[in-house]
Symmetry: C2
Subunit: 432 residues, 2 copies
């Protein structure tokens, strides 16, 4: 499906055609402070400037008293207005940029506002799109859960009996969620050397990536209530981002029993800057992985196409700024999930846990079934097994990330609808 044509020049391969219209937070050298923005091709629309100059004058469904959400330094206030409003704003911006816009006076024929609000993308910087209250990471990527279970335990014990009955998840650390581009320090910590019974202290030698889809929320529920499937849970979704749940496998392995991952995860989690709305992904719905277990009623979805077919990829760049060489080490569809985000939300709130606008949920690592579809180095290198090195550009190899390595995730749902980059460079050991 070709995206609608725009009066603004948009490169054909752009993630940010008029079919997309995601939201983020930027700062630019042209203006003070952080502000909401929308990327369109190689430009971004500064929503604070656009709004204050009357850009939303023709969006009659949008009450004027709500315009203050575009003065905010996060998307939380905008998100809290609800899915209908997000979609109205998205459709309005599509029209404003459309070649055949019904309101050319707003921007197409308004060179003054173009100058004030339409900025070259490379002259802006992205910030974390939302104030994240709580972050929960699920484990809904069936293939990854099985692969990791085989390596951390054994094939018979890889998936625990609860795995197909409920979306397994754990609470993550909200304070270490950062926006794409933020440097990642290699964590130090306790590591049990092979064959030893006494841990040593030092930099992690098994630094890994995890390819995930993240979901940001736009509704809240009071403590003691739940968000039900086939209604509340779907409406709680503001939008989606790519997520790298950086992981230290040696620290994680020693610490994680019996209460789960801790320092092996809380040193950094990177998300892509632009929040892609459900409306943009609607054409790319597909069925999730088949679950033969009969689910309890609160997890039964009326429709089965509740995940998306987004083509995800991992690029690994080595060699530093002087001699960079990039290899695509994985390509996998985001549909490799046993549980949808609405199911995760319904389960998360089943016992009355309150969600808040800006909460982040991670899908868990997404892997396919073939060798080129693995979402973590743990799986690619079979936990660093002899002879299982990754072959990279320039005859280099890797089992785990080295200092200076850059991991870049991309996601493309279809023509003109993508996520941009979720990238981070390993910059050496954390300070102590």
């Amino acid at each position: 499906m070709a995206p609608p044509k725009s009066w603004l020049s948009i490169p054909e391969d752009s993630d940010f055609s008029l079919a997309n219209i995601p939201f983020g937070i930027i700062r630019s050298k042209f203006s003070d402070g952080h502000r909401p923005a929308i990327p369109i091709g190689n430009h971004v629309l500064d929503l604070k400037a656009f709004s204050s100059a009357g850009g939303f004058a023709e969006l009659t469904s949008f009450p004027k008293e709500h315009l203050s959400v575009f003065d905010s330094t996060t998307l939380n206030d905008f998100a809290a207005l609800g899915q209908k409003t997000h979609e109205n704003v998205r459709k309005y911006i599509q029209d404003v940029f459309s070649e055949s816009t019904s309101h050319p006076e707003i921007l197409k024929d308004n060179s003054e506002l173009q100058k004030a609000a339409l900025l070259p993308k490379h002259e802006t910087k992205n910030l974390l799109p939302m104030k994240i209250g709580d972050y929960t990471d699920f484990y809904a990527g069936y293939n990854h859960a099985f692969n990791a279970g085989c390596l951390f335990r054994d094939p018979e014990n890889a998936l625990k009996p609860n795995y197909t009955h409920l979306p397994v998840g754990y609470h993550g650390r909200a304070s270490s969620v950062v926006v794409s581009g933020t440097p990642i320090h290699r964590p130090q910590g306790q590591i049990l050397p092979p064959g030893s019974q006494t841990p040593i202290h030092g930099p992690s030698k098994k630094l890994d990536i995890e390819l995930e889809l993240g979901c940001l929320l736009c509704t809240s529920n009071p403590m003691g209530t739940s968000l039900k499937l086939n209604g509340d849970a779907e409406e709680a979704i503001f939008g989606y981002v790519l997520m790298n749940d950086w992981s230290s496998r040696d620290i994680q392995r020693w610490e994680y029993v019996p209460l789960g991952p801790f320092n092996g995860k809380n040193f950094g989690t990177t998300i892509s800057p632009w929040v892609v709305l459900p409306g943009a992904l609607e054409p790319y719905r597909v069925k999730k992985l088949e679950n033969k277990t009969e689910l309890l009623p609160y997890l039964q979805e009326k429709r089965q196409d509740t995940v998306y077919d987004i083509s995800l990829s991992i690029d690994l760049t080595i060699g530093g700024d002087e001699d960079p060489a990039t290899t695509t080490i994985a390509k996998v569809s985001s549909s490799n999930l046993l549980w949808s985000f609405p199911q995760m939300i319904a389960h998360h709130t089943m016992g009355g846990c309150p969600m808040n606008v800006g909460d982040l949920l991670g899908s868990g690592t997404i892997s396919g079934t073939s060798k080129n579809e693995l979402g973590s180095l743990l799986e690619m290198g079979k936990d660093g097994k002899e002879g299982e090195e990754l072959m990279l550009a320039g005859m280099n190899t890797r089992k785990w990330l080295l200092d200076g390595d850059v991991a870049t995730f991309r996601g493309k749902a279809g023509e003109g609808v993508g996520f941009g980059e979720c990238t981070g460079r390993v910059v050496g050991t954390s300070k102590h």
Copy 2:
């Protein structure tokens, strides 16, 4: 040690003598909005009213531009000023209320300000003292960890090999931390009936309490850095609260492998309203439990008396408002910890995890070694084993909490230094 005498009448058994001076957030019928306050005997000092009327005029070490922290609706801004400032303010308030105050004109002889700022405690309501960014629960209560491990697994496997090498912990859910007095809904969730391989859905039948000490932080560290023991980690502590980490044992047991507790915990965590400063607890330092394992250098403390001997108790009240009957079901010292809070902080940040002002750390359940010193019903009733009922006032029994039951924790360090109450009532099943 008798507390200093005050010109204000303070009941002899009060937790809030001049030796204490903790901080909290209140609202009252006398004024609009939430504001910082200090409890003194049966009164509270409204710090917003006190400050705006010039109450801090003689605290020369306190820059005037900092007075806005007392206009805030949380203690975060005050906490961020650092331990030295907290202690200066505490000492100043001790002097203002002292019988032999050096500044009687401030409050002792100022009936107008007394009327405006010194409120009867029963006419005020407590709120959550801080905006909690992230909440982490540790597992530092050795006796509880052993007891729970025996019941969830087996005595040989009760403590995992990592337990004496590092303070095991997991990320909790900040959004469900509430102030004392907030009703707690019994969670619904998935439960595996004994002998079955298929979970059912329903209200938890094994609703439990966990007696913990909570620690609130007053410093931040950037991602990629750590807070070191014997300095930074100690200075990161704003103060302490009592904490009830309400737990659903049947939900927890089915869900917790391999990534840790989730819905079994995130339906509610109650903290006491007044943050007791390290200065007030200084006279009550004692040695923590002996750890025969040789610790890695980053966990070695210069002094061993890094926990406190606070006498904790659990009261269970049954029978509702009509016919209440209360039984004290446990009394235990808070010194039953294998790890101190500074050790927890040093470990938590070892890999570069950023802490923020207002973060909450829980000690883990505190139990002693005798039958009357157990911090959870799980331990008291041996996971609901036949014949292990609790005997309560009025010939009633309990294995787990019933709807209407009220659990009240108290903590007293010494004469005039206590925590008040950390209480909550089970009010029926969460809505779905």
